[in-house]
Symmetry: C2
Subunit: 199 residues, 2 copies
Amino acid sequence: MKSLHRPDLYGWSTFNPARNIDFNGIAWIRPNGNILIDPVALSNHDWNHLESLGGVDWIVLTNSEHIRAAKEIAAQTYAKVAGPAAEKEIFSIACDRWLSDGDELVPGLKTIELQGSKTPGELALLLEETTLITGDLIRAHKAGTLTILPKEKLLNPEAAIASVRKLAQLPNIETVLVGDGWSVFRDGHLRLKELAATL
Amino acid sequence: MKSLHRPDLYGWSTFNPARNIDFNGIAWIRPNGNILIDPVALSNHDWNHLESLGGVDWIVLTNSEHIRAAKEIAAQTYAKVAGPAAEKEIFSIACDRWLSDGDELVPGLKTIELQGSKTPGELALLLEETTLITGDLIRAHKAGTLTILPKEKLLNPEAAIASVRKLAQLPNIETVLVGDGWSVFRDGHLRLKELAATL
């Protein structure tokens, strides 16, 4: 896995040839149990790396289209799984916890529920106020510039835009880790404001 | 290949498990012939993508330790190869052109010769004043923060630091594309100044 912007955060990716972007998984390494977010498949090397850092305690899935390699990883590690409460009825993987707006799975990892995206109640996660982790709605196909899903993929474009505007008001975001495409590691708040201004 | 920060620039990567970073190749798509810089191996998908964008006219290698997949690509495409003039005597791949400080391989692609790095006369490339492309000396293992090779790998640390300081004085750098690790897509000039301040 690759070091991200903090020594306790790692990322790994698989390239998606249909869209010519990377799909990214994230690992937060914590003394009280590591957390994976929207994990894509791990190579043997990355699997060993993760094991050497303490394995997996929780897997958080931001939406039902980002289940990716979570089933295999959960089966092999006995990790607990958390998913979006709004998709509880149709989620295709058993969850130990359903997350709604304001929930804190562990100290320092806050849930923000987005509205109107591709799926109901898609999760964004706010890690210690400065790192925003997004699933599908906010993404980046062009490096250095955040974008959102195309309108035709949104359940409710107006609600989705309102959700993005809310994220753009978070004052302390330095980093935006996206599930799809190019993450932004500096001045995340400015990049979110720029995005909101285009909507 | 993945879109970078401009529609005419693409990148693709191979993960290096020894260092847990990506090694990156770059493609500049131009009406008068595409240019690859320090190309790593291309997947079949990326190869087809590159062919669909016009193939390869030139391959530029920043130093003798970044030859990577250049031999195979040159053999298959008949691309011409350019390398650092200071390594002319020992370069392990035939070059059609040797680049020195100030040379412009094609309009808009200026050569900057660095001193004191792992190899003599390592090249950095300045693409239309705003995108700096670095080979080995400037790199990023931590996302969002530029660094340089460790001192013990440098031929001459003082000369290498002086070269970095020179790059940090280029006023219009928005993007720093690194051969090894995490590229910086915004505020490149600030990131280079921050780097210079740590040396």
